[in-house]
């Protein structure tokens, strides 16, 4: 039988992360709760680490953070409580489904390209963290990052993966295009292409694996990223596990801080 856990969320978190909808779509697993809810949803603006610590002090068994901003989350990682970081794209089901195809093609001869089209006025650093989380989840974490450009219209950056694969990262601020991320790996003989829509709806991401034999569209799933994130948190709590989001996030934050400092110094 499914263990049903209760959920509470700040109104910011509810709006940004459509938490009410996600909980309503998991009626056997989750149920709205009050102050003493099992799980707590938080918005990822400044101060989210303190809010998460406070929720855990107050007895929360799991925390979900919507679109987290850069922060020192080490103290949080030391608490043995599962924390799910619901970045813009990470939990779209297409991302996890693409991971095997991507990692099988991740080597020194690979070119990885990732691009985010986001609305004008978006917080660029948060978009970048979501983008790094996307690459980390689908392919592998970046080990090096440097910016060719960082301005009011977006950025162009270059990075590398542990394998030696080269990564070209870009963000474009525009209201003309549908908000989305795209990630692809191109190799001399084959390629994988992932597109991930904005998490506001359950519109599916797509994964296409392509070789000289043809191109295959992987299974398409109409499940919103937010629902998957809550399902994941529920799973971690009931299994007594903590997950890896915080550890990955810490490394990404460090990388971003170094690369941003180099931009401001230049």
């Amino acid at each position: 039988m499914t263990t049903r856990l209760t959920v509470s969320a700040s109104s910011d978190a509810d709006t940004e992360g459509r938490i009410g909808q996600a909980v309503a779509a998991l009626p056997m697993s989750l149920h709205p709760g009050g102050k003493d809810a099992d799980l707590v949803g938080l918005a990822g603006g400044a101060g989210w680490v303190d809010a998460a610590m406070a929720a855990i002090e107050a007895g929360a068994r799991g925390v979900l953070v919507v679109d987290p901003s850069a922060a020192d989350a080490r103290a949080l990682a030391e608490r043995d409580v599962p924390v799910v970081l619901d970045g813009r794209w990470t939990y779209n089901p297409a991302v996890l489904d693409s991971a095997a195809a991507f990692s099988a093609r991740n080597d020194a001869e690979s070119l990885v390209e990732v691009r985010a089209d986001v609305p004008v006025g978006s917080d660029l650093e948060r978009v970048l963290l979501s983008q790094l989380a996307l690459v980390r989840t689908a392919v592998a974490p970046l080990v090096q990052l440097s910016f060719d450009r960082w301005n009011a219209r977006g950025w162009d950056a270059r990075g590398t993966l542990e394998s030696g694969a080269r990564v070209a990262l870009a963000a474009i601020l525009t209201d003309a295009l549908e908000p989305a991320a795209s990630l692809r790996i191109i190799k001399p003989t084959d390629a994988v292409r992932l597109t991930v829509p904005d998490p506001a709806t359950a519109r599916p991401g797509h994964v296409v694996v392509s070789s000289p034999e043809g191109a295959t569209l992987l299974v398409t799933k109409w499940e919103s990223a937010h629902r998957v994130a809550w399902r994941t948190l529920h799973g971690l709590v009931t299994a007594g596990a903590t997950g890896t989001d915080l550890a990955g996030f810490e490394r990404d934050v460090e990388l971003v801080r170094g690369a941003r400092a180099a931009v401001s110094a230049a």
Partner: protein, 355 residues
């Protein structure tokens, strides 16, 4: 062939003549007929001429002296383009189509401009996408996008040419490319230079159309992907530009051009080179609404030939040769600076390995 169709002479009868121009001309037999084909390789000249019932020669002058040749198309290797364009102008031809690139140096391009001004010969460069009905339709409808666009992306995933050449024709001979050591900074720089002047050059005129300050070029970085291609981040005046291409045997060829502003954006998906697969499709987006132009029935190859016929008959205004020179100098600058960036990066990486 009839007296009322325009006579064409071809210099260089390699894969581009065989797989692109002859199949295009086969769609336009009411407008053109091929009179004479020239190639330095007599076997190629004879075989290709035989396909269209034309005469053949290994001598440029003989072709240019042929009065029935009214239009000259130059499909020889890059380094011969400039001298052959000049010779065709001097021979008093009615119009010239020169495959890209127009020339390999600014000095050559200026010489062409001077001669063309003197002989008043209309010239077009085979940057076929500039004649693609999808691009032309976008141009009519994009409004203020030239100023509004802040970000330009031009991306190619290039399948092996033979895959498409073999759909378009039966190729007589193919050039062989020797393998090279890309860890050598000069080799890496040469690959980038060749990639920009051979491939990126196609749509650099489109990029330039969106970059009014095209003489202010800064290469922010240049990466050489495997097995070949280029990824170049540029600032051109106020515009943020990325020009990229990767050669891949994977099954999804891509050739896209995007110009993106805060509230409007253009994306063009071009059909593959070589095949007669109709025009590009252009989409102009403004948030959730979009306008789609194309695909139209014919591509830029046919577009350039239709325009050439109008030029030869005097029913269209010739292109401004200065614009063609600007296209070339812009390409040369991108190629030079990108090659220099990759040379430096490769040398630095080698030093790191040694240390």
């Amino acid at each position: 062939m009839t007296a009322s169709t325009l006579g064409v002479g071809i210099l260089g009868a390699g894969p581009v003549t065989q797989a692109i121009h002859l199949p295009t001309l086969a769609r336009l037999t009411d407008v053109f007929h091929v009179v004479r084909v020239m190639d330095v390789d007599p076997a190629v000249a004879e075989s290709v001429a035989g396909r269209v019932g034309a005469a053949w020669t290994t001598d440029v002058d003989e072709l240019l002296a042929d009065e029935e040749v009214q239009i000259v198309v130059i499909c020889s290797p890059h380094q011969f383009h400039a001298e052959q364009v000049v010779a065709a102008c001097r021979a008093g031809k009615r119009a010239i189509l020169c495959e890209k690139p127009f020339a390999m140096t600014k000095a050559q391009a200026e010489e062409i401009a001077a001669v063309a001004a003197e002989t008043r010969t209309p010239i077009i460069v085979g940057a076929m996408h500039t004649f693609d009905p999808g691009w032309l339709a976008a141009k009519q409808h994009w409004g203020d996008l030239i100023t509004a666009a802040h970000t330009i992306r031009y991306s190619i995933v290039l399948p092996p040419n033979p895959r498409f050449e073999d759909f378009a024709t039966e190729v007589a001979t193919r050039p062989q490319w020797p393998a090279a050591d890309r860890n050598d900074p000069d080799v890496a720089a040469g690959m980038i230079y060749g990639g920009i002047m051979g491939l990126a050059i196609h749509d650099l005129p489109l990029v330039r159309a969106f970059c009014p300050d095209f003489t202010d070029v800064e290469v922010l970085s240049c990466t050489l992907p495997y097995p070949a291609g280029y990824v170049v981040n540029l600032r051109v005046g106020q515009k943020d530009v990325q020009v990229s291409a990767v050669n891949s045997h994977s099954w999804e060829p891509e050739w896209t051009f995007e110009a993106i502003g805060d509230s409007s954006a253009l994306r063009i998906d071009f059909s593959p080179s070589y095949v007669q697969a109709g025009s590009a499709t252009a989409v102009i987006r403004r948030g959730p609404e979009s306008e789609v132009y194309g695909p139209y029935a014919y591509n830029g190859y046919e577009g350039e030939w239709r325009f050439l016929a109008e030029l030869a008959r005097g029913t269209a205004e010739p292109l401004d040769v200065t614009e063609l020179i600007h296209d070339l100098t812009f390409a040369l600058e991108v190629a030079d600076k990108s090659a220099a960036a990759v040379r430096e990066a490769t040398a630095a990486a080698n030093e790191k390995v040694m240390a």
